[in-house]
Symmetry: D2
Subunit: 265 residues, 4 copies
């Protein structure tokens, strides 16, 4: 339904990951191999948000060529029904926190009102769009995302599942999510049915560099450099590892972590 | 904050009113004379909705030149804060009903949640944007717009004022509104402070034609032809009449009507 | 590269052909079966022009549901390199004439300057975009499109081929084209290599109605009703006929015609 | 007709100049004080280009808050007739060079063809839009902008004036222009009639800091920091100096310069 990418590490020009590879995110906007939809042309976001398809967008190419960053999230969208408008494009931002999502809340129009009602009074006015993804973000913020990111997402998913089931929805949620405060990245893979959208993280950079000493593009990247993606950016053997079902990866200064994830009611 | 125009009568090319006059709606998008803001460049709508300023929009000119209609609503927007996106552009449509608004609900971010909660369950999923204007529309629909348009708007305004005052807002609502089922047009002028945005209706066409027998553009228009506008489309003497404070005009087959309007709790 | 549709006949709501069928033009924007590209998401046009993909565009659906017409051209675009902007979207209009194209002029950037130079002085300022398709239109206008449509297109193609070959281009042109003065539609299928993009016209309406007396959607359509399309709108047997290589079809009041087409130098 | 701003100096967040001041560039998009038009709502550009008015554009605010740069050009547009599309938005870029313009070539539609013909063959395919401003850029590139910026602009202006006069245009050109290779900025003020659009440069930063030791926002800016603007960003006394008629300012590492400018045939 969507594809996304989260990067942390040595400052890098965005175009290296978004544009220049064979299976870059822009390539995936037209030709996704693992996605639920082949075409992800309902807008994109990375620092700025657009309602245009990514593939022929010149601003995206200009900015991606001119901007370097040590941490960024990028997303291409395939709408599951909500309007094509910038306020529905990922990543969403609230204060220091970014949020992007692939998947859906099933029968969202049925449960939307009840989910929105649970958003904290002080956060409610900041909701600008109409997607399930943004509702999930504001629920997670309500449940304490800024203080305990993993706990808050566990409670958000628990609440969405409980609400959906109360309305007779069998498998209420399907998601991969990346969220970040600009310092760490939390990448979740979960679905009510235990068959979640694909999610991969890159191998430790020092190991990769040892295996491929001849690859110029890997040279100069710090040991901590890491990418999390909906689908691999290429087919370099040993470079990509699937995030297991119902797990969350934490990319942070120091050792990264991979932990089991389960909804909390 | 916005400017709008509603037309009923002999089928007419839209460009006659939107483009071709000195003080056409397109002219008002750049140079409003009576509006709270001079520039109304945050989008427009008439049959289709756009986030571009009306003044240089070629699609608007092409369509306005090619389409004739016996009844239409047109609107140019100056945002009071909500996002510039098509789902926030007027007129809003639900089934056969169109709705457009000039003005605002004061401190909308404070009362928005409570107003949305009052919208009927079956209507809630149809809300696509984030404006006060669309919230007013769905409240009016909840209160029976389709069966008793005037009564429903009276109750909507009563509810908005009651809610605002409960939150300490002095003058909760400021509005001119046009709504139509494609057969009649209801044009409201009201504000809590009794100093509403401007609203004018055109003089009966037969009287106007009698006074200006030489005006080619009036020839051929039926006696029932009528325009309601935020500000006059020109300065033809005797052509424009102000809608009095706290009144609603009904443009319909047969005699039109002008009635006092007051909120109902 | 693109897909298009031209209709002439009993006034019909645009959505009948653009939206409502299984293999409607909107469906083809995401899933073209016969096109050189599967995705045609770089804009569309029908009376108005947009840079958004057609598939999720709400204005297109609103307008297509509200507008009926006895003759129209519709187009969805897959750019071969030129910018995604309204002035590059088809159909192009000059006075009464509309023009849309599927295909390309090969090595256009090499020959563009020379082709533009051949456009008549009085027409040159009207060129607003940067596509090969629009250049072909203004060349055809220069060669007399308004007086002798077929002759003018023959000369345009001859000139493009001669220019291309002088620059060492083997197969300079690939095209299906529809052009109309609002009364007749001229539909061309031609390519330098003799392997042109697909083009189909619908069977005579009275024959189709006789074969399918039970089909409600055919009832009420005049005998002269005809559609020309890049690819069939469905798989009704006997409904669609391929335009032969190097031919032009003329849809007009009275009998339609199919004639051989060859470039003229 | 337009407003622009060029900055060179200590890396600064773009929002400091584009958003945060009373008379910021965004403020000028709605309320220009010195411009030929009050509203400059036909798009903008700074690193990326947009067809939306700057005043309510959230991407502009997000990017301007997140990006710091030691040298940038920013522009807001009021079209003099050419289409509202990204390829017509300033600044234009070719290789390392940026270009933006306020003013016009008079009777451009008359001379456009002849001006375009003079553009070098190798540069012609890179022209993507339809403005006089972009034509001036490609003429200047043809005349050697990359090697001798001032000489190339002198020859460009001489050529435009000579061409215009040959077609009976009295005052062929009106312009302020900024162009930069990312290292120096060249700012021109010239018009055939000797009454050019306004242009100001900021006082040397050390002098300004000495006069206003209490101003926090000036602290930390290097002595070489300099801004050139269509109209002052505020009314700080002594801060803004008019560029004299027919002059060019050069902002560069080391001492800046101000030289007389005259067209060369």
């Amino acid at each position: 339904m969507c594809r996304w990418l989260a990067y942390s590490g040595t400052p890098i020009r965005l175009e290296e990951l978004l544009v220049k590879r064979d299976r870059s995110l822009i390539d995936q906007s037209l030709h996704s191999r693992l996605g639920a939809t082949t075409t992800n042309g309902d807008g994109f976001g990375v620092g700025y948000r657009s309602i245009h398809p990514a593939w022929n967008d010149r601003n995206l190419r200009e900015l991606a060529a001119g901007i370097s960053s040590p941490l960024f999230l990028a997303h291409i969208r395939a709408s599951t029904g909500s309007a094509i408008q910038e306020t529905n494009a990922h990543p969403f931002r609230h204060g220091q926190w970014l949020w992007m999502h692939n998947g859906l809340i099933r029968e969202f129009s049925t449960v939307r009102r009840e989910l929105l009602l649970a958003v904290d009074d002080s956060l409610f006015p900041a909701i600008e769009g109409t997607t399930d993804s943004e509702a999930m973000f504001y629920l997670a913020l309500t449940f304490g995302l800024e203080d305990d990111p993993i706990g808050a997402v566990e409670r958000m998913v628990g609440f969405v599942e409980e609400t959906g089931r109360r309305h007779g929805v069998d498998q209420p949620i399907q998601m991969t999510i990346a969220t970040s405060d600009g310092r760490s990245i939390y990448a979740f893979r979960y679905s009510s049915e235990g068959a979640s959208r694909s999610l991969f993280f890159s191998t430790r950079m020092d190991a990769l560099q040892a295996n491929y000493p001849e690859m110029v593009e890997l040279a100069g990247l710090s040991d901590e450099t890491r990418v999390v993606v909906s689908e691999p950016l290429g087919d370099l053997e040993g470079a990509w590892n699937e995030v297991p079902e119902s797990h969350v990866g934490i990319i942070q200064p120091g050792d990264d972590e991979l932990r089991p994830f389960s909804p909390r009611v």
